[in-house]
């Protein structure tokens, strides 16, 4: 019997931004899968390509972005070959929707919150205005907003409520996949905790698949089943969250997790990763992390390390994995 394809599979995606100075190699040979009901974290520092990957999945790329190769298979269908019309009618909102970065600015200030969500439903589904309104109120209640506040304007909402409203809007057309791009970055810590809880509960209750993009490793660690750490446009490591944070294998993951001050346990001096991330106009040859890597050998500056499965569903792109004493 043929195996069911995963819900979403990104294969060998290469996407560059064309600029006057040359190509910015923002996404370079990225591959991963997302299963049904899975919460996947995409973590990394600014400019590592995590948001670009998400934009490619919805085909809402800026004009200068060029996809050179790769496939994005949604239930086996390559959405990169679909026309804009097909994407708009069949994919966006209905199958994949997005909670954008800085959601507080994503609401239109001159329309009531309920109007904005209702509009999204009417545009995408054959329903009457009344039905759409009813659904809007249900959605708002689901994310913890009292329906009596539905007809308020965005400026009457607090930051956390705006973020909740954006989550409700993303759910408007019953998508299978939600992409949340830094959904709590501008929020205070208590509100962040509340919003993450809403996201996590909805994801479980509705059986949604989710891609959560964040620069904050601890947000990913506490929300996602599986995590990918990206560095300079490439995947460094991809594993179950528990494994990744307990026993990271890629030197960048080790460095990044080790550089994070923790609220728990004794205070010990943190080790930083030397240097800074490369300019993606001209990334280092071989492994892009090698100039900063404490374990780098000659091969690392020559050959690009492949993303290999070290054990079940744990992928690492490092020449030294299994070779260096650190790893044995």
């Amino acid at each position: 019997m043929k195996r069911m394809p995963p819900l979403l599979e990104v294969k060998d995606l290469i996407m560059y931004y064309e600029t006057m100075k040359g190509d910015v190699k923002a996404v370079d040979d990225v591959r991963f899968t997302l299963e049904k009901g899975e919460a996947l974290g995409l973590a990394g520092e600014s400019g590592c390509g995590k948001t670009s990957v998400a934009l490619a999945m919805l085909k809402i790329l800026p004009y200068n972005a060029k996809i050179f190769s790769g496939e994005i298979l949604l239930s086996g269908v390559n959405i990169l070959t679909l026309s804009d019309e097909e994407i708009r009618k069949k994919v966006r909102w209905k199958r994949i929707s997005m909670v954008p970065q800085a959601a507080m600015n994503a609401l239109n200030p001159v329309f009531r919150v309920s109007e904005q969500i209702t509009e999204a439903i009417i545009l995408h589904e054959q329903v009457s205005e009344n039905e759409a309104k009813k659904r809007t109120l249900e959605l708002l209640e689901r994310v913890g907003i009292d329906p009596s506040r539905a007809d308020h304007y965005p400026h009457e909402f607090s930051g956390g409520m705006k973020q909740r409203a954006m989550i409700a809007m993303a759910l408007a057309c019953n998508p299978e996949i939600i992409i949340a791009d830094e959904p709590t970055t501008a929020l205070d810590v208590i509100v962040q905790g509340q919003v993450l809880k809403v996201i996590k509960t909805l994801q479980r209750e509705l059986g949604l698949s989710m891609i959560l993009i964040s620069h904050d490793l601890s947000v990913v660690a506490q929300t996602c089943d599986r995590s990918i750490i990206m560095y300079a446009g490439k995947i460094a490591e991809d594993a179950s969250t528990e494994e990744l944070f307990a026993e990271p294998l890629h030197p960048y993951s080790i460095g990044l997790i080790g550089a994070f001050p923790s609220l728990i346990g004794e205070r010990k001096r943190l080790e930083s990763i030397r240097g800074s991330p490369p300019n993606l106009l001209d990334p280092p040859p071989g492994c892009r992390f090698h100039p900063r890597c404490p374990y780098a050998r000659e091969i690392c500056s020559v050959e690009v390390p492949p993303l290999l499965e070290t054990h079940k569903r744990h992928y690492v792109s490092c020449h030294m994995v299994n070779k260096h004493p650190k790893y044995s």
Binding site: I190, Q194, A259, R267, I273
Partner: protein, 347 residues
């Protein structure tokens, strides 16, 4: 040594209210218009050679506190002492002497450095303002020294570059060099790493710790990130809506918080370890605006343990254990035997 227990900074009952612009007519009819109570009566002190962490969510008044201590903002009420001298009422020329000893590192090195000035000009500027350095070669040496201190090496490579040519971490080092070239004794660091990427952050924090030891500095370290506060400070104060609601040794406050707000903060902070399951956050709602501070205890509308007194009276800081206090009536009531231990919340 006795010296190390000396208080370098002491703040007594500090207030800062910002008046809110109202219409012309209402400004005639009432003299006391509404105001934003950014700091609403706080007192604390920082011992020589220590780092005091001031933590809290956005809008709690932590930045205003840092700036008011340096008198970059004039306080509405209260006293500030630097090395036992009250600086609250000093005139501008008298204050200048102290300005040299008290410096600030700002949050965003992308905005705090003039993009049209070279690194040399940026770092030499404080020397020129304070008339330090006999001649150009002496100033140059001081600048080179300062750049080396913040590990921008070799310094010659940086002198004639502009801020846009540097990375975020390097820019923040320039800002640190600018603050430290005057050899201050006290530094306010206002969220110095919140704009930096994680891999760069640690480097800057470690640099600040090393320079503290090397130069015998005292810091007021302002941050919204409790894990960073724990990494940096000896003592911390937790602010909520313009008041310090808990203070004490950083370990005690973080591992055994007393105030219900601090407890909620601790639970809400995510931890980079998937095996640790965090309990639910016990409080609801969001922080109110500092223009409209709730009556009684300012945390009472969100507090799951609030009782009648909390809505009526304002709690003062109560020392729960030696050196560790919380502004919460539960502890006062418990100590005077009016409530049972079971009513005291804990994590």
């Amino acid at each position: 040594m006795l010296m190390s227990n000396r208080e370098l900074i002491r703040v007594v009952d500090l207030h800062k209210y910002f008046p809110v612009q109202t219409g012309f007519i209402s400004s005639l009819t009432s003299r006391d218009g509404p105001s934003v109570k950014a700091i609403d009566g706080i007192s604390f002190s920082i011992r020589q050679g220590e780092i005091f962490g001031l933590v809290g969510e956005s809008g709690c008044g932590k930045t205003t506190t840092g700036r008011t201590i340096l008198r970059l903002i004039e306080p509405t009420q209260g006293k500030i002492y630097f090395d036992d001298v009250e600086i609250t009422k000093l005139k501008k020329d008298e204050l200048k002497k102290y300005r040299r000893e008290m410096q600030i590192i700002l949050q965003d090195p992308f905005e705090s450095l003039n993009p049209k000035m070279t690194i040399r000009d940026l770092v030499v500027e404080p020397l020129e303002i304070h008339g330090i350095g006999e001649n150009e070669s002496e100033k140059k040496e001081l600048v080179m020294n300062a750049l080396e201190e913040v590990q921008l090496t070799p310094p010659e490579d940086f002198l004639f570059r502009y801020p846009h040519e540097l990375s975020g971490g390097q820019r923040q080092r320039v800002a640190i060099a600018r603050a430290l070239i005057l050899r201050p004794r006290f530094v306010v660091a206002d969220e110095p790493v919140s704009m930096l990427d994680v891999s760069i952050r640690t480097e800057v924090l470690n640099l600040m710790l090393d320079l503290k030891t090397k130069l015998g500095l005292t810091y007021l370290f302002i941050t919204h990130d409790l894990a960073i506060a724990k990494y940096m400070s000896e003592d911390i104060g937790v602010m909520y809506l313009g008041k310090i609601i808990e203070y004490g040794n950083v370990y005690e406050v973080i591992h055994d918080p007393d105030h219900p707000y601090t407890q909620a903060l601790m639970v809400a902070v995510p931890v980079a370890d998937a095996r640790i399951k965090r309990p639910d956050i016990p409080i609801k709602g969001e922080t109110p605006q500092p223009i409209n501070i709730p009556k009684g205890c300012r945390f009472s509308p969100r507090c799951p343990y609030a009782f009648e007194r909390c809505y009526r009276e304002v709690p003062e800081l109560f020392e729960v254990e030696p050196g560790h206090g919380a502004a919460c009536f539960l502890y006062e009531e418990f100590h005077s035997g009016r409530i049972e231990r079971g009513r005291i919340p804990s994590l």
